[in-house]
């Protein structure tokens, strides 16, 4: 619910900025088709379609996979919405929109894709030989070891946290805004560590610890957001320099971005944590029945 409020609030705040930007800039917010983003995204989508089609032909019982396909599509679409749509273009000009873009990647697309457990279907999308090879690779002890370590709840939480904090060091963040290669790398790290994080919590840990790690992540991202929102001077110079053209001062842009990370993103983590906790409590006596 609070997410909804925040989204509404955001929308209202954004509106004047948008309206203002059009005539002041003479530049329409546009779709960005960066091949470095479009190609991997397209591959992921095509592979999944192929895989799903092949599987459907072979198994003939699509019941369980419907939900997964929906989740995966939602994940990929939001990812595309964040990285390709005018949102990305706006993110290059306004810190606030850049933050929204990041939060969609980390806290919306990543959990959706993780919930869909797409690896099997993606593998089916590959040509037979490549599928074999990929399967072999995934079963290799080293890969398994890495995957297991990476998706243990504690290490994934720390990894994701370090990625978030490290990229928000002002000079690093400004570097990402000014250099497209660094920018792509930034988005890749956010997305990859988010996938590890959500995978670890959704599929690899007990509900209780998962709730705890989500709660911890909520706290530390809120702190980071609060630091940005409460700072009385501009920390991200390159990122916020275009804000004036959109009716915001650079400081306001930074404050708003901090708020986005603090409140709406925090609400997503808190909601997920509460869900995990509820599942933990609800299942506790049934689990006992199984164990005794």
């Amino acid at each position: 619910m609070p997410t909804l409020i925040c989204a509404l609030t955001m929308g209202m705040m954004a509106w004047p900025a948008l309206a203002h930007g059009d005539d002041a800039h003479g530049l329409e917010p546009a779709w960005t088709f960066d091949p470095w983003i479009v190609v991997p995204l397209g591959t992921l989508a095509v592979l999944y379609c192929l895989g799903a089609a092949r599987l459907a032909r072979r198994t003939r019982r699509p019941g369980g996979t419907h939900r997964r396909i929906c989740l995966y599509s939602a994940g990929i679409l939001t990812l595309a919405g964040a990285l390709l749509s005018p949102l990305h273009w706006l993110g290059e000009h306004l810190f606030t929109f850049h933050m929204i873009e990041h939060e969609i990647v980390m806290a919306v697309s990543a959990p959706l894709i993780v919930l869909a457990r797409p690896i099997g279907i993606l593998l089916w999308g590959l040509p037979a030989r490549a599928r074999m090879a990929a399967g072999m690779l995934m079963r290799a002890p080293l890969m398994r070891e890495l995957w297991d370590r990476g998706t243990s709840a504690t290490s994934a939480t720390i990894l994701h946290g370090v990625a978030i904090w490290a990229w928000h060091v002002p000079i690093v963040f400004d570097a990402a805004v000014t250099n497209p290669a660094v920018h792509r790398f930034q988005h890749l790290t956010f997305f990859a560590t988010a996938i590890l994080f959500w995978w670890a919590l959704v599929w690899r840990s007990d509900y209780g610890p998962a709730a705890w790690h989500l709660f911890f992540t909520m706290i530390h991202t809120s702190v980071l957001g609060a630091l940005m929102a409460l700072a009385p001077r501009v920390l991200y110079v390159a990122q916020t320099q275009a804000a004036m053209a959109w009716g915001l001062t650079p400081l306001e842009d930074q404050q708003l971005a901090g708020m986005i990370m603090w409140v709406p993103a925090g609400t997503i983590y808190a909601g997920a944590a509460l869900t995990m906790l509820a599942l933990w409590i609800r299942g506790s006596s049934e689990r006992k029945a199984q164990n005794v």
Binding site: P2, D206, L230, Q255, A270, L277, S284, K288, N291
Partner: protein, 636 residues
């Protein structure tokens, strides 16, 4: 006689009578003063804690009457500004740090081990230590007040008024150090509660069978663990600024005045829920008992508790709406502040649904619950009002806010607490409180409270600011203030009657049976008052309302040793027995440790070197505390 590999006397080898005698000799405290000082029985310490907290409530009440005396007329000269500032600071600090938080934790110290079916709290010596530290903090504050060095900077102690330049003398230091005392004791109890609930629940008490009061204390304990370090850091920085010249809050040297407010309210807002959530647990318990029904929506209630706890950390900024923070963010804070009404509303609706579905029995505890619902709803509504920035910038720091938080805290916490005292008094003392007097107490307090605090809303809307020791005759506030002061007498009479009833009943009340209310939770499965070992054998839990589910005989587990203090350790999630564990015996060392800590903390108000030299007796007493004495409890 069956002897297992660890070679102790087991309860399986004894008849019930022998078992009780053997357990009594193992678990009892020594008689006399030494025994009283060295006991680690959670029930003895819990009762002491509750009684002490009520003494501080009475003292704080006297302070509020003094304030009402001074404010009854414009430009009154009963109390000068210096003393008045001390009085309102003392009132707030005393009620928050010496009454509200400790009394809730004290109820938990007494009740949680009984409700989860164990024999003592986890870390019983730490429990004794925390009580002594708490008393020391209270004595420090009140002694300072009596000798006219009571803190005079408000319970929030905003810098720079409390800083080295404007807060002269040792007044602010005493406030800050009192914080340290009470926080140490609160944190210690929080740890004990968390571990007791996680590891010492009766076998079979899985997470979804934990009584709601225990859930509320668990969430509260986590709030304490996460929120109180902020105020510890803040008060320590304040003392450092004052004592050794650091510059945390000095804007001339790169410090910041608002840093104090952020730290204070990061603690201060969760503090409200630290006081309120236990009350939610109490209300749930009382509602269930007096409607003869389990509380409607158990999981929803638990999630509401947790959600309130989580939201509590996102709300601190709404105490700073007028401090000059980024205006862009205000809507976010308004949204999150208002969002807290959702879990609160959920709880209210669940209680109403329970009452609706059951047959309410209108005993005194239940009357207090009804009073709570009425008053808390009003407090909640004004809370939603002050969450709105435009409204808040008008009423912030006026009597409207005074009225609001008294509705929330007195209505939301003191009413349930008084109900809880009436409800658990038979368990605490073995005697019933008077039902007739109880109705009078409720009536006087309910009427007196509303007459006292409702007009304050109006005063606030008329523009009367808080924390003023007097006001000018030309302001339109005199009539209402006189009315409020007179109403306060009614309220005070209600509390006086409550104390009379409590003391009289404890001496000569009707003897209570084990379960006089026909309640469902485990504390009523044992005698009133319980034996030192709580339960002869640990109860086995098969449902959320164990005493209603098993009408004839209580399922129990057997096999614990009786020649040493032994209790049962169970798994966190399902409550599966994992081990037998010894529980430490009585010890005087917690008292020595508390005295050494007190010496260090009080001394450090005057000299930074106290921390160095004082740590030596503290370390010695802690080593004495933990060093094995070769008793049965030390073995494995």
């Amino acid at each position: 006689m069956i002897r297992s590999k660890d070679d102790g006397l087991r309860d399986t080898a004894l008849s019930d009578k022998e078992l009780n005698r053997a357990l009594a000799s193992t678990w009892s405290a020594q008689p006399g003063l030494w025994g009283a000082l060295s006991t680690v029985d959670h029930k003895v310490i819990g009762r002491r804690y509750i009684a002490t907290a009520f003494v501080f409530l009475a003292l704080g009440g006297v302070l509020s009457l003094l304030m009402r005396l001074q404010l009854s007329q414009p430009e009154a000269r009963f109390i000068g500004p210096d003393r008045y500032n001390q009085i309102f600071t003392m009132h707030g600090s005393n009620m928050m740090f010496l009454f509200a938080v400790p009394v809730m934790q004290a109820m938990a110290v007494y009740l949680v081990p009984l409700m989860v079916g164990t024999r003592n709290i986890a870390f019983p010596r730490l429990n004794a230590f925390s009580y002594w530290i708490y008393v020391a903090g209270g004595l420090l504050l009140w002694t300072a007040f009596i000798v006219d060095t009571g803190p005079d900077v408000g319970w929030f102690a905003y810098v720079p008024l409390s800083g080295p330049q404007y807060g002269v003398g040792k007044r602010a230091d005493i406030w800050a150090q009192m914080i340290t005392f009470t926080e140490v004791s609160a944190l210690a109890i929080a740890v004990e509660i968390v571990v007791t609930v996680f590891k010492q629940r009766g076998p079979g008490m899985s997470l979804d069978r934990i009584p709601l009061f225990v859930w509320s204390m668990l969430v509260t304990s986590f709030l304490i663990i996460l929120a109180m370090p902020a105020i510890m850091i803040a008060s320590t920085s304040l003392i450092l600024d004052r004592l050794v010249g650091t510059h945390f809050f000095n804007p001339a040297e790169g410090g910041d005045v608002l840093l104090w407010q952020h730290l204070f309210w990061f603690f201060g807002h969760p503090e409200v829920y630290i006081i309120f959530l236990p009350a939610v647990g109490m209300v749930s318990t009382i509602v269930a008992t007096f409607t003869r029904r389990p509380v409607f929506g158990y999981l929803a209630m638990v999630m509401a508790l947790v959600a309130t706890g989580v939201l509590a950390f996102g709300l601190w900024v709404h105490h700073m709406f007028v401090a000059g923070l980024p205006r862009l963010g205000e809507s976010f804070f308004t949204a999150s502040s208002m969002a807290i009404a959702v879990p609160a509303g959920l709880q209210i609706f669940c209680w109403l649904a329970t009452i609706w579905a059951g047959k309410p029995i209108f005993k005194t505890p239940f009357l207090f619950v009804i009073g709570f619902i009425v008053i808390f709803v009003i407090g909640g509504l004004t809370g939603v009002m002050v969450a709105s920035v435009p409204f808040d910038t008008q009423v912030h720091d006026t009597y409207f806010v005074v009225a609001h938080f008294h509705y929330v805290l007195v209505g939301g916490a003191v009413f349930p607490l008084l109900g809880a005292i009436y409800y658990w008094f038979p368990k605490l003392t073995g005697k019933m409180m008077s039902e007739t007097l109880g109705r009078w107490v409720f009536g006087l307090i309910f009427v007196g409270f509303n007459l006292t605090f409702f007009p304050m809303h109006i005063l606030g809307l008329q523009g009367m600011p808080r924390r003023i020791y007097t006001y000018q005759p030309e302001m339109p506030w005199a009539g209402l203030n006189m009315f409020i002061s007179l109403s306060a007498i009614v309220l005070a009479a209600g509390f006086l009657l409550f104390f009379v009833d409590a003391i009289r009943s404890a001496r000569s009340g009707a003897v209570a049976s084990a379960n006089p209310w026909g309640a469902s939770t485990l504390e009523w499965a044992t005698a009133s008052p319980p034996q030192p070992y709580n339960f002869a054998r640990p109860p086995v839990v098969g449902s959320r309302e164990p005493l209603w589910a098993e009408a004839t005989a209580l399922p129990v587990a057997a096999g614990l040793r009786v020649d040493r203090r032994e209790l049962l350790i169970t798994g966190v999630v399902e409550g599966i027995p994992e081990a037998r564990e010894s529980s430490v015996g009585n010890s005087i060392w917690p008292l020595w440790a508390a005295l050494a800590t007190t010496l260090t903390l009080v001394w450090s108000i005057f000299s930074p070197w106290a921390v160095v030299w004082g740590s030596i007796p503290v370390a010695v007493s802690l080593i004495g505390w933990f060093w094995p004495k070769g008793v049965l409890e030390d073995e494995s």
